[in-house]
Amino acid sequence: MDTDVTATPAVEAVDVSRRYGDVVALDGVSLSVAPGAVFGLVGPNGAGKTTLVRALTGTTDATGEVRLFGDPLPAVDRARLGLLPQSFSPADRLTARELVDYYAGLYDPRRARDVDAVLAEVGLADDTAVRYENLSGGQRRRVCVATALVNDPDLLFLDEPTAGVDPAGRRSLHGLVARLADEGTTVFLTSHSMDEVETLADRVGLVRDGSLVAVGPPDGLVAEHGGHARVLVETASDAVADPPALGLDGFDVERTTEGFVVTDVGAADLPDVVESVVAAEVSPDAVTWARPGLEEAYFRLTGEAFADAEAERR
Protein backbone atom coordinates (compact mmCIF):
# COMPACT_ATOMS: atom_id res chain seq x y z
CA MET A 1 0.00 0.00 0.00
CA ASP A 2 1.19 3.49 -0.85
CA THR A 3 1.10 5.49 2.37
CA ASP A 4 3.47 8.31 1.56
CA VAL A 5 0.84 10.99 1.82
CA THR A 6 0.87 14.00 4.11
CA ALA A 7 -2.14 16.05 2.95
CA THR A 8 -5.67 14.69 2.53
CA PRO A 9 -5.24 12.39 -0.46
CA ALA A 10 -7.02 13.27 -3.67
CA VAL A 11 -7.64 9.54 -4.13
CA GLU A 12 -7.69 6.94 -1.42
CA ALA A 13 -8.69 3.33 -1.99
CA VAL A 14 -8.66 0.65 0.66
CA ASP A 15 -9.08 -3.04 -0.14
CA VAL A 16 -11.07 -2.45 -3.32
CA SER A 17 -12.26 -5.60 -5.06
CA ARG A 18 -14.51 -6.37 -7.99
CA ARG A 19 -15.61 -9.74 -9.29
CA TYR A 20 -17.47 -10.58 -12.48
CA GLY A 21 -18.86 -14.02 -11.74
CA ASP A 22 -15.84 -16.24 -11.11
CA VAL A 23 -13.43 -13.72 -12.57
CA VAL A 24 -11.60 -11.53 -10.08
CA ALA A 25 -11.02 -8.23 -11.87
CA LEU A 26 -9.70 -6.41 -8.78
CA ASP A 27 -8.30 -8.12 -5.76
CA GLY A 28 -7.97 -6.00 -2.64
CA VAL A 29 -6.34 -2.97 -4.21
CA SER A 30 -5.23 -0.19 -1.86
CA LEU A 31 -3.55 3.00 -2.95
CA SER A 32 -3.33 6.69 -2.25
CA VAL A 33 -2.67 9.62 -4.55
CA ALA A 34 -1.54 12.97 -3.20
CA PRO A 35 -3.18 16.18 -4.45
CA GLY A 36 -1.43 17.55 -7.53
CA ALA A 37 0.38 14.32 -8.27
CA VAL A 38 0.34 12.30 -11.48
CA PHE A 39 -0.30 8.67 -10.70
CA GLY A 40 0.30 6.19 -13.51
CA LEU A 41 -1.29 2.78 -13.46
CA VAL A 42 0.41 0.41 -15.84
CA GLY A 43 -0.15 -3.19 -16.75
CA PRO A 44 -1.02 -5.39 -19.68
CA ASN A 45 -4.48 -5.48 -21.23
CA GLY A 46 -6.93 -7.21 -18.92
CA ALA A 47 -4.84 -6.57 -15.81
CA GLY A 48 -7.63 -4.56 -14.13
CA LYS A 49 -6.69 -0.97 -14.93
CA THR A 50 -10.07 0.06 -16.33
CA THR A 51 -11.93 -1.74 -13.56
CA LEU A 52 -9.89 0.18 -11.01
CA VAL A 53 -10.71 3.50 -12.70
CA ARG A 54 -14.37 2.52 -12.64
CA ALA A 55 -14.14 1.59 -8.97
CA LEU A 56 -12.50 4.92 -8.16
CA THR A 57 -15.13 6.89 -10.10
CA GLY A 58 -18.07 4.92 -8.74
CA THR A 59 -19.05 3.50 -12.11
CA THR A 60 -18.76 -0.12 -11.08
CA ASP A 61 -20.11 -1.90 -8.03
CA ALA A 62 -16.88 -2.62 -6.23
CA THR A 63 -16.40 -3.54 -2.60
CA GLY A 64 -13.98 -1.77 -0.28
CA GLU A 65 -13.61 1.90 0.51
CA VAL A 66 -12.96 4.74 -1.93
CA ARG A 67 -12.56 8.37 -0.93
CA LEU A 68 -11.91 11.32 -3.23
CA PHE A 69 -10.70 14.53 -1.56
CA GLY A 70 -11.53 12.83 1.74
CA ASP A 71 -15.20 12.30 0.85
CA PRO A 72 -16.83 8.93 0.25
CA LEU A 73 -17.87 8.52 -3.40
CA PRO A 74 -21.56 9.38 -3.09
CA ALA A 75 -20.71 12.69 -1.41
CA VAL A 76 -18.04 13.78 -3.89
CA ASP A 77 -18.72 16.98 -5.82
CA ARG A 78 -18.83 15.58 -9.33
CA ALA A 79 -18.02 18.94 -10.87
CA ARG A 80 -14.47 18.50 -9.55
CA LEU A 81 -13.94 15.30 -11.56
CA GLY A 82 -12.94 14.74 -15.15
CA LEU A 83 -13.10 11.32 -16.76
CA LEU A 84 -11.97 9.90 -20.05
CA PRO A 85 -13.27 6.30 -20.17
CA GLN A 86 -11.16 3.84 -22.11
CA SER A 87 -13.82 2.87 -24.67
CA PHE A 88 -15.49 6.27 -24.78
CA SER A 89 -17.38 6.94 -27.99
CA PRO A 90 -19.45 10.14 -27.95
CA ALA A 91 -22.26 11.14 -30.32
CA ASP A 92 -20.66 10.79 -33.72
CA ARG A 93 -22.87 13.22 -35.64
CA LEU A 94 -21.84 16.23 -33.57
CA THR A 95 -18.85 18.37 -34.49
CA ALA A 96 -15.83 18.55 -32.23
CA ARG A 97 -16.98 21.94 -30.99
CA GLU A 98 -20.57 20.84 -30.41
CA LEU A 99 -19.38 17.83 -28.43
CA VAL A 100 -17.11 19.78 -26.15
CA ASP A 101 -19.75 22.51 -25.83
CA TYR A 102 -22.27 19.85 -24.79
CA TYR A 103 -20.09 18.59 -21.96
CA ALA A 104 -19.28 22.16 -20.92
CA GLY A 105 -23.02 22.78 -20.66
CA LEU A 106 -23.33 20.11 -17.98
CA TYR A 107 -21.32 22.23 -15.53
CA ASP A 108 -21.89 25.48 -13.73
CA PRO A 109 -20.77 28.36 -16.01
CA ARG A 110 -18.21 29.39 -13.40
CA ARG A 111 -16.65 25.95 -13.76
CA ALA A 112 -16.96 25.47 -17.52
CA ARG A 113 -13.98 26.54 -19.59
CA ASP A 114 -13.93 28.26 -22.95
CA VAL A 115 -14.61 25.55 -25.50
CA ASP A 116 -12.32 26.90 -28.21
CA ALA A 117 -9.46 27.23 -25.73
CA VAL A 118 -9.85 23.58 -24.68
CA LEU A 119 -9.95 22.41 -28.30
CA ALA A 120 -6.83 24.43 -29.04
CA GLU A 121 -5.16 22.88 -26.02
CA VAL A 122 -5.60 19.38 -27.46
CA GLY A 123 -4.47 20.52 -30.90
CA LEU A 124 -7.82 20.68 -32.65
CA ALA A 125 -8.20 24.40 -33.22
CA ASP A 126 -8.45 23.87 -36.98
CA ASP A 127 -10.96 21.02 -36.84
CA THR A 128 -13.65 22.37 -34.55
CA ALA A 129 -16.34 22.24 -37.24
CA VAL A 130 -15.62 18.66 -38.32
CA ARG A 131 -18.08 16.02 -37.22
CA TYR A 132 -16.70 13.41 -34.84
CA GLU A 133 -17.50 10.64 -37.34
CA ASN A 134 -15.26 12.32 -39.91
CA LEU A 135 -12.21 12.79 -37.65
CA SER A 136 -9.23 10.42 -37.65
CA GLY A 137 -8.77 7.99 -34.77
CA GLY A 138 -6.17 10.17 -33.08
CA GLN A 139 -8.26 13.32 -33.50
CA ARG A 140 -11.27 11.53 -32.02
CA ARG A 141 -9.27 10.56 -28.97
CA ARG A 142 -8.15 14.16 -28.56
CA VAL A 143 -11.76 15.35 -28.68
CA CYS A 144 -12.50 12.81 -25.97
CA VAL A 145 -9.64 14.18 -23.88
CA ALA A 146 -11.06 17.68 -24.38
CA THR A 147 -14.42 16.58 -22.98
CA ALA A 148 -12.62 15.54 -19.80
CA LEU A 149 -10.89 18.91 -19.44
CA VAL A 150 -13.82 21.18 -20.08
CA ASN A 151 -14.77 21.60 -16.41
CA ASP A 152 -11.22 22.37 -15.29
CA PRO A 153 -11.23 19.27 -13.05
CA ASP A 154 -9.32 19.05 -9.81
CA LEU A 155 -9.01 15.31 -10.31
CA LEU A 156 -8.66 13.92 -13.81
CA PHE A 157 -8.98 10.23 -14.67
CA LEU A 158 -7.50 9.38 -18.06
CA ASP A 159 -7.96 5.75 -19.06
CA GLU A 160 -5.56 5.02 -21.92
CA PRO A 161 -5.61 8.61 -23.21
CA THR A 162 -3.13 8.05 -26.02
CA ALA A 163 -4.62 4.83 -27.42
CA GLY A 164 -4.68 5.21 -31.20
CA VAL A 165 -2.96 8.60 -31.13
CA ASP A 166 0.01 9.17 -33.44
CA PRO A 167 3.46 9.97 -31.98
CA ALA A 168 3.10 13.73 -32.46
CA GLY A 169 -0.31 13.72 -30.85
CA ARG A 170 1.04 11.59 -28.03
CA ARG A 171 3.81 14.08 -27.34
CA SER A 172 1.26 16.86 -27.36
CA LEU A 173 -0.95 15.03 -24.85
CA HIS A 174 2.07 14.26 -22.67
CA GLY A 175 2.84 17.98 -22.59
CA LEU A 176 -0.76 18.70 -21.69
CA VAL A 177 -0.72 16.26 -18.77
CA ALA A 178 2.52 17.76 -17.52
CA ARG A 179 1.07 21.26 -17.74
CA LEU A 180 -2.10 20.23 -15.90
CA ALA A 181 0.00 18.70 -13.15
CA ASP A 182 2.06 21.88 -12.91
CA GLU A 183 -1.17 23.82 -12.44
CA GLY A 184 -2.19 21.56 -9.56
CA THR A 185 -4.54 19.07 -11.19
CA THR A 186 -4.31 15.55 -9.80
CA VAL A 187 -4.05 13.11 -12.69
CA PHE A 188 -4.79 9.40 -12.48
CA LEU A 189 -3.54 7.91 -15.70
CA THR A 190 -3.67 4.36 -17.03
CA SER A 191 -1.59 3.03 -19.85
CA HIS A 192 -0.17 -0.19 -21.19
CA SER A 193 2.89 1.79 -22.26
CA MET A 194 5.66 1.60 -19.68
CA ASP A 195 7.48 4.50 -21.34
CA GLU A 196 4.43 6.71 -21.08
CA VAL A 197 3.91 6.34 -17.34
CA GLU A 198 7.64 6.46 -16.71
CA THR A 199 7.72 9.82 -18.48
CA LEU A 200 4.58 11.33 -16.97
CA ALA A 201 3.96 9.89 -13.54
CA ASP A 202 5.30 10.95 -10.16
CA ARG A 203 4.22 7.60 -8.83
CA VAL A 204 3.47 4.39 -10.63
CA GLY A 205 1.36 1.37 -9.77
CA LEU A 206 2.23 -1.89 -11.52
CA VAL A 207 -0.88 -4.02 -11.86
CA ARG A 208 -1.23 -7.65 -12.80
CA ASP A 209 -4.26 -9.94 -12.59
CA GLY A 210 -6.24 -7.42 -10.57
CA SER A 211 -3.56 -6.82 -7.96
CA LEU A 212 -1.09 -4.01 -7.45
CA VAL A 213 2.29 -5.69 -7.38
CA ALA A 214 4.23 -2.51 -6.60
CA VAL A 215 3.68 1.20 -6.09
CA GLY A 216 6.25 3.97 -5.99
CA PRO A 217 8.15 6.61 -7.95
CA PRO A 218 9.34 5.26 -11.31
CA ASP A 219 12.99 5.74 -10.42
CA GLY A 220 12.49 4.04 -7.08
CA LEU A 221 10.73 1.06 -8.62
CA VAL A 222 13.45 0.67 -11.21
CA ALA A 223 16.22 1.05 -8.66
CA GLU A 224 14.60 -1.44 -6.32
CA HIS A 225 13.34 -4.00 -8.79
CA GLY A 226 14.82 -3.28 -12.22
CA GLY A 227 18.33 -4.59 -11.78
CA HIS A 228 21.37 -2.87 -13.27
CA ALA A 229 22.32 -1.30 -16.54
CA ARG A 230 23.78 -3.52 -19.25
CA VAL A 231 25.71 -3.32 -22.46
CA LEU A 232 24.28 -4.94 -25.55
CA VAL A 233 26.85 -5.83 -28.22
CA GLU A 234 25.65 -6.86 -31.64
CA THR A 235 28.27 -8.79 -33.57
CA ALA A 236 28.82 -11.78 -35.82
CA SER A 237 32.31 -12.44 -34.38
CA ASP A 238 33.24 -15.97 -33.34
CA ALA A 239 34.95 -14.56 -30.26
CA VAL A 240 31.56 -14.55 -28.57
CA ALA A 241 31.71 -18.34 -28.48
CA ASP A 242 34.35 -18.00 -25.78
CA PRO A 243 33.24 -15.34 -23.26
CA PRO A 244 36.47 -15.54 -21.20
CA ALA A 245 38.37 -14.48 -24.29
CA LEU A 246 36.53 -11.20 -24.19
CA GLY A 247 38.52 -10.21 -21.12
CA LEU A 248 35.48 -8.99 -19.23
CA ASP A 249 36.51 -10.37 -15.87
CA GLY A 250 34.12 -9.49 -13.10
CA PHE A 251 31.12 -9.11 -15.41
CA ASP A 252 28.44 -11.58 -16.34
CA VAL A 253 28.31 -12.17 -20.06
CA GLU A 254 25.37 -13.83 -21.75
CA ARG A 255 25.18 -14.84 -25.38
CA THR A 256 22.23 -13.72 -27.46
CA THR A 257 21.22 -14.40 -31.03
CA GLU A 258 22.60 -11.00 -32.06
CA GLY A 259 25.81 -11.13 -30.03
CA PHE A 260 26.14 -10.85 -26.26
CA VAL A 261 24.97 -8.90 -23.23
CA VAL A 262 27.22 -7.70 -20.42
CA THR A 263 25.11 -7.25 -17.29
CA ASP A 264 25.48 -5.02 -14.23
CA VAL A 265 27.47 -2.34 -16.03
CA GLY A 266 27.47 0.97 -14.20
CA ALA A 267 28.28 4.27 -15.91
CA ALA A 268 31.79 4.19 -14.41
CA ASP A 269 32.41 0.73 -15.82
CA LEU A 270 31.45 1.66 -19.35
CA PRO A 271 34.89 2.74 -20.68
CA ASP A 272 36.51 -0.47 -19.44
CA VAL A 273 33.85 -2.66 -21.02
CA VAL A 274 34.05 -0.90 -24.36
CA GLU A 275 37.85 -1.05 -24.28
CA SER A 276 37.74 -4.79 -23.62
CA VAL A 277 35.29 -5.38 -26.41
CA VAL A 278 37.47 -3.47 -28.86
CA ALA A 279 40.64 -5.24 -27.65
CA ALA A 280 39.02 -8.64 -28.18
CA GLU A 281 38.60 -7.75 -31.84
CA VAL A 282 34.94 -8.57 -31.73
CA SER A 283 34.11 -6.09 -34.52
CA PRO A 284 30.80 -4.99 -33.09
CA ASP A 285 28.02 -3.83 -35.40
CA ALA A 286 26.46 -1.88 -32.55
CA VAL A 287 27.11 -1.27 -28.86
CA THR A 288 24.25 -0.05 -26.67
CA TRP A 289 24.27 0.84 -23.01
CA ALA A 290 20.76 0.45 -21.59
CA ARG A 291 19.53 1.45 -18.18
CA PRO A 292 16.80 -0.80 -16.78
CA GLY A 293 13.30 0.57 -16.95
CA LEU A 294 9.88 -0.23 -15.57
CA GLU A 295 9.62 -3.10 -18.02
CA GLU A 296 12.57 -4.83 -16.32
CA ALA A 297 11.07 -4.04 -12.92
CA TYR A 298 7.77 -5.55 -14.02
CA PHE A 299 9.56 -8.65 -15.26
CA ARG A 300 11.48 -9.13 -12.04
CA LEU A 301 8.37 -8.57 -9.92
CA THR A 302 6.01 -10.81 -11.84
CA GLY A 303 8.34 -13.26 -13.52
CA GLU A 304 6.55 -12.38 -16.72
CA ALA A 305 7.84 -10.26 -19.56
CA PHE A 306 5.47 -7.33 -20.07
CA ALA A 307 5.26 -7.90 -23.83
CA ASP A 308 4.43 -11.57 -23.25
CA ALA A 309 1.73 -10.66 -20.75
CA GLU A 310 0.24 -8.28 -23.31
CA ALA A 311 0.29 -10.91 -26.03
CA GLU A 312 -1.24 -13.55 -23.77
CA ARG A 313 -4.23 -11.36 -22.97
CA ARG A 314 -4.95 -10.36 -26.56
Binding site: R54, G58, T59, T60, L83, F88, A91, Y102, G105, Y107
Partner: protein, 255 residues
Amino acid sequence: MTRLRRLRAEFTAERRSFLRRRTAVFFTFVFPLLVVLIFGVLVQTDGGGVGLFARPPAFYVPGYLAVVVLFTPLSRVGSTVARHRDGARFEKLATTPLRRWEWLLAHAVVNAAVIGLAALLLFVLTLLLTGVAAAPAPALLLLVPLVALATVLFCGVGCVVGRVAGSQDGVIAASNALALPLLFLSETFVAADQLPAWFRPAVGLSPLTYFARGVRALVGSGDPAVGVALTNLAVVAALAVVAVAAGAAAVPRTD
Protein backbone atom coordinates in the same frame (compact mmCIF):
# COMPACT_ATOMS: atom_id res chain seq x y z
CA MET B 1 -30.30 27.90 -13.39
CA THR B 2 -27.54 25.32 -13.59
CA ARG B 3 -30.14 22.58 -13.96
CA LEU B 4 -31.75 24.43 -16.85
CA ARG B 5 -28.31 24.78 -18.41
CA ARG B 6 -27.75 21.03 -18.11
CA LEU B 7 -31.17 20.25 -19.57
CA ARG B 8 -30.57 22.65 -22.44
CA ALA B 9 -27.16 21.13 -23.18
CA GLU B 10 -28.57 17.59 -23.21
CA PHE B 11 -31.62 18.70 -25.24
CA THR B 12 -29.47 20.48 -27.83
CA ALA B 13 -27.06 17.59 -28.25
CA GLU B 14 -29.90 15.06 -28.58
CA ARG B 15 -31.85 17.29 -30.98
CA ARG B 16 -28.81 17.56 -33.23
CA SER B 17 -28.09 13.84 -33.01
CA PHE B 18 -31.71 12.93 -33.80
CA LEU B 19 -32.18 15.33 -36.70
CA ARG B 20 -28.84 14.33 -38.25
CA ARG B 21 -29.87 10.68 -38.35
CA ARG B 22 -31.65 10.95 -41.63
CA THR B 23 -33.04 7.44 -41.63
CA ALA B 24 -34.53 7.93 -38.16
CA VAL B 25 -36.17 11.20 -39.19
CA PHE B 26 -37.35 9.73 -42.48
CA PHE B 27 -39.08 6.77 -40.86
CA THR B 28 -40.50 8.88 -38.04
CA PHE B 29 -42.46 10.83 -40.62
CA VAL B 30 -42.90 8.31 -43.41
CA PHE B 31 -43.80 5.13 -41.52
CA PRO B 32 -47.07 6.47 -40.10
CA LEU B 33 -47.84 8.06 -43.46
CA LEU B 34 -47.54 4.62 -45.05
CA VAL B 35 -50.00 3.25 -42.51
CA VAL B 36 -52.53 5.95 -43.37
CA LEU B 37 -52.05 5.39 -47.10
CA ILE B 38 -52.40 1.62 -46.80
CA PHE B 39 -55.29 1.38 -44.38
CA GLY B 40 -57.03 4.70 -44.82
CA VAL B 41 -56.74 5.08 -48.59
CA LEU B 42 -56.08 1.67 -50.16
CA VAL B 43 -57.96 -0.70 -47.84
CA GLN B 44 -60.44 1.98 -46.80
CA THR B 45 -62.72 1.78 -43.82
CA ASP B 46 -66.41 1.18 -44.14
CA GLY B 47 -68.79 2.02 -41.32
CA GLY B 48 -71.50 -0.52 -40.75
CA GLY B 49 -69.65 -3.64 -41.85
CA VAL B 50 -68.11 -6.34 -39.74
CA GLY B 51 -64.54 -7.35 -39.01
CA LEU B 52 -61.44 -5.20 -39.23
CA PHE B 53 -61.67 -1.74 -40.72
CA ALA B 54 -65.44 -1.83 -40.62
CA ARG B 55 -65.84 1.23 -38.46
CA PRO B 56 -66.20 4.82 -39.62
CA PRO B 57 -62.90 6.41 -40.69
CA ALA B 58 -62.70 8.59 -37.56
CA PHE B 59 -62.47 5.47 -35.40
CA TYR B 60 -58.99 4.78 -36.72
CA VAL B 61 -57.46 8.19 -36.09
CA PRO B 62 -56.17 7.12 -32.63
CA GLY B 63 -54.55 4.12 -34.30
CA TYR B 64 -52.75 6.22 -36.87
CA LEU B 65 -51.47 8.59 -34.17
CA ALA B 66 -50.57 5.65 -31.94
CA VAL B 67 -48.17 4.35 -34.58
CA VAL B 68 -45.99 7.43 -34.28
CA VAL B 69 -46.48 7.95 -30.55
CA LEU B 70 -45.61 4.36 -29.70
CA PHE B 71 -42.94 3.09 -32.07
CA THR B 72 -40.54 6.02 -32.33
CA PRO B 73 -40.00 6.67 -28.60
CA LEU B 74 -39.70 2.99 -27.78
CA SER B 75 -37.13 2.18 -30.43
CA ARG B 76 -35.41 5.56 -30.44
CA VAL B 77 -34.86 5.93 -26.69
CA GLY B 78 -34.16 2.22 -26.29
CA SER B 79 -31.46 2.23 -28.94
CA THR B 80 -30.06 5.51 -27.58
CA VAL B 81 -29.63 3.85 -24.18
CA ALA B 82 -27.89 0.89 -25.84
CA ARG B 83 -25.66 3.19 -27.88
CA HIS B 84 -24.76 5.27 -24.82
CA ARG B 85 -23.90 2.13 -22.88
CA ASP B 86 -21.77 0.70 -25.70
CA GLY B 87 -19.87 3.98 -25.99
CA ALA B 88 -19.27 4.36 -22.22
CA ARG B 89 -21.24 7.60 -22.32
CA PHE B 90 -23.20 6.82 -19.18
CA GLU B 91 -19.92 6.01 -17.46
CA LYS B 92 -18.76 9.50 -18.25
CA LEU B 93 -22.09 11.16 -17.46
CA ALA B 94 -22.07 9.48 -14.04
CA THR B 95 -19.08 11.67 -13.16
CA THR B 96 -20.82 14.89 -14.23
CA PRO B 97 -23.53 16.82 -12.38
CA LEU B 98 -26.19 15.61 -14.87
CA ARG B 99 -28.87 13.52 -13.12
CA ARG B 100 -30.41 10.47 -14.69
CA TRP B 101 -33.90 11.94 -14.74
CA GLU B 102 -32.55 15.09 -16.36
CA TRP B 103 -31.02 12.99 -19.12
CA LEU B 104 -34.30 11.19 -19.75
CA LEU B 105 -36.38 14.35 -19.57
CA ALA B 106 -34.22 16.10 -22.15
CA HIS B 107 -34.49 13.13 -24.49
CA ALA B 108 -38.24 12.91 -23.91
CA VAL B 109 -38.71 16.58 -24.79
CA VAL B 110 -36.78 16.14 -28.05
CA ASN B 111 -38.89 13.11 -28.92
CA ALA B 112 -42.10 14.94 -27.98
CA ALA B 113 -41.18 17.85 -30.24
CA VAL B 114 -40.28 15.68 -33.26
CA ILE B 115 -43.19 13.30 -32.76
CA GLY B 116 -45.52 16.21 -32.19
CA LEU B 117 -44.63 17.52 -35.64
CA ALA B 118 -45.01 14.05 -37.16
CA ALA B 119 -48.38 13.64 -35.44
CA LEU B 120 -49.57 17.01 -36.71
CA LEU B 121 -48.60 16.08 -40.26
CA LEU B 122 -50.26 12.72 -39.86
CA PHE B 123 -53.45 14.26 -38.48
CA VAL B 124 -53.73 16.74 -41.33
CA LEU B 125 -53.12 14.01 -43.92
CA THR B 126 -55.70 11.82 -42.25
CA LEU B 127 -58.29 14.57 -42.53
CA LEU B 128 -57.38 15.17 -46.16
CA LEU B 129 -57.07 11.57 -47.34
CA THR B 130 -59.54 9.52 -45.35
CA GLY B 131 -62.54 11.77 -45.22
CA VAL B 132 -62.54 12.22 -41.44
CA ALA B 133 -64.38 15.37 -40.55
CA ALA B 134 -63.08 17.06 -37.43
CA ALA B 135 -64.69 20.40 -36.78
CA PRO B 136 -62.19 23.02 -35.63
CA ALA B 137 -62.81 23.31 -31.92
CA PRO B 138 -60.68 24.50 -28.99
CA ALA B 139 -61.05 21.05 -27.49
CA LEU B 140 -58.92 19.64 -30.30
CA LEU B 141 -55.97 21.41 -28.67
CA LEU B 142 -56.13 18.68 -26.02
CA LEU B 143 -54.53 16.46 -28.65
CA VAL B 144 -51.29 18.35 -28.04
CA PRO B 145 -50.80 17.31 -24.41
CA LEU B 146 -52.15 13.86 -25.18
CA VAL B 147 -49.54 13.27 -27.88
CA ALA B 148 -46.78 14.91 -25.82
CA LEU B 149 -47.50 13.00 -22.62
CA ALA B 150 -47.96 9.68 -24.40
CA THR B 151 -44.62 10.24 -26.11
CA VAL B 152 -42.96 10.96 -22.78
CA LEU B 153 -44.60 7.86 -21.34
CA PHE B 154 -43.19 5.62 -24.04
CA CYS B 155 -39.78 7.31 -23.76
CA GLY B 156 -39.73 6.09 -20.16
CA VAL B 157 -40.72 2.60 -21.26
CA GLY B 158 -38.09 2.76 -24.04
CA CYS B 159 -35.47 3.54 -21.43
CA VAL B 160 -36.40 0.41 -19.48
CA VAL B 161 -36.31 -1.63 -22.72
CA GLY B 162 -32.86 -0.20 -23.49
CA ARG B 163 -31.63 -1.19 -20.04
CA VAL B 164 -33.00 -4.71 -20.23
CA ALA B 165 -32.00 -5.46 -23.84
CA GLY B 166 -28.33 -6.23 -24.19
CA SER B 167 -27.65 -4.56 -27.53
CA GLN B 168 -29.07 -2.21 -30.14
CA ASP B 169 -30.36 -5.21 -32.10
CA GLY B 170 -31.94 -6.51 -28.93
CA VAL B 171 -33.66 -3.17 -28.39
CA ILE B 172 -35.25 -3.25 -31.84
CA ALA B 173 -36.50 -6.80 -31.30
CA ALA B 174 -37.77 -6.08 -27.79
CA SER B 175 -39.48 -2.81 -28.71
CA ASN B 176 -41.22 -4.43 -31.68
CA ALA B 177 -42.31 -7.36 -29.52
CA LEU B 178 -43.79 -4.89 -27.04
CA ALA B 179 -45.23 -2.37 -29.48
CA LEU B 180 -47.04 -4.64 -31.92
CA PRO B 181 -49.42 -6.24 -29.38
CA LEU B 182 -49.97 -2.85 -27.76
CA LEU B 183 -50.80 -1.26 -31.10
CA PHE B 184 -53.56 -3.72 -31.91
CA LEU B 185 -54.89 -4.48 -28.44
CA SER B 186 -55.38 -0.97 -27.08
CA GLU B 187 -58.66 0.10 -28.69
CA THR B 188 -56.74 1.64 -31.56
CA PHE B 189 -57.46 -0.37 -34.70
CA VAL B 190 -59.47 -3.09 -32.97
CA ALA B 191 -62.43 -2.20 -30.76
CA ALA B 192 -62.70 -3.92 -27.41
CA ASP B 193 -65.98 -5.60 -28.40
CA GLN B 194 -64.15 -7.39 -31.21
CA LEU B 195 -61.94 -9.15 -28.69
CA PRO B 196 -62.90 -12.22 -26.65
CA ALA B 197 -64.76 -11.30 -23.49
CA TRP B 198 -62.12 -12.90 -21.28
CA PHE B 199 -59.43 -10.72 -22.81
CA ARG B 200 -61.20 -7.37 -22.57
CA PRO B 201 -60.06 -6.52 -19.01
CA ALA B 202 -56.46 -6.79 -20.24
CA VAL B 203 -57.06 -3.89 -22.63
CA GLY B 204 -57.21 -1.61 -19.61
CA LEU B 205 -53.67 -2.58 -18.70
CA SER B 206 -52.25 -1.00 -21.82
CA PRO B 207 -51.22 2.67 -21.41
CA LEU B 208 -51.99 3.15 -25.08
CA THR B 209 -55.67 2.42 -24.42
CA TYR B 210 -56.08 5.68 -22.51
CA PHE B 211 -54.34 7.61 -25.27
CA ALA B 212 -56.67 6.03 -27.83
CA ARG B 213 -59.77 6.74 -25.77
CA GLY B 214 -58.68 10.33 -25.23
CA VAL B 215 -58.04 10.93 -28.93
CA ARG B 216 -61.29 9.24 -29.92
CA ALA B 217 -63.22 11.39 -27.49
CA LEU B 218 -61.94 14.45 -29.35
CA VAL B 219 -62.00 13.26 -32.96
CA GLY B 220 -64.88 10.80 -33.01
CA SER B 221 -68.25 11.50 -34.51
CA GLY B 222 -70.21 14.31 -32.94
CA ASP B 223 -69.04 16.98 -30.55
CA PRO B 224 -65.79 16.41 -28.63
CA ALA B 225 -66.35 14.68 -25.31
CA VAL B 226 -64.04 16.95 -23.35
CA GLY B 227 -64.74 15.29 -19.99
CA VAL B 228 -63.78 11.86 -21.31
CA ALA B 229 -60.70 13.30 -23.00
CA LEU B 230 -59.57 15.05 -19.82
CA THR B 231 -60.05 11.91 -17.75
CA ASN B 232 -57.93 9.87 -20.13
CA LEU B 233 -55.40 12.69 -20.38
CA ALA B 234 -55.06 12.58 -16.59
CA VAL B 235 -54.47 8.82 -16.71
CA VAL B 236 -51.85 9.21 -19.46
CA ALA B 237 -50.16 11.97 -17.42
CA ALA B 238 -50.05 9.82 -14.29
CA LEU B 239 -48.67 6.87 -16.25
CA ALA B 240 -46.09 9.18 -17.85
CA VAL B 241 -44.85 10.20 -14.40
CA VAL B 242 -44.52 6.55 -13.39
CA ALA B 243 -42.80 5.64 -16.66
CA VAL B 244 -40.31 8.50 -16.40
CA ALA B 245 -39.50 7.52 -12.81
CA ALA B 246 -38.97 3.89 -13.89
CA GLY B 247 -37.01 4.97 -16.96
CA ALA B 248 -34.77 7.31 -14.96
CA ALA B 249 -34.05 4.53 -12.49
CA ALA B 250 -33.19 2.29 -15.44
CA VAL B 251 -30.61 4.67 -16.93
CA PRO B 252 -27.33 2.82 -16.35
CA ARG B 253 -24.90 4.40 -13.91
CA THR B 254 -22.37 1.61 -13.61
CA ASP B 255 -20.89 -0.98 -15.94
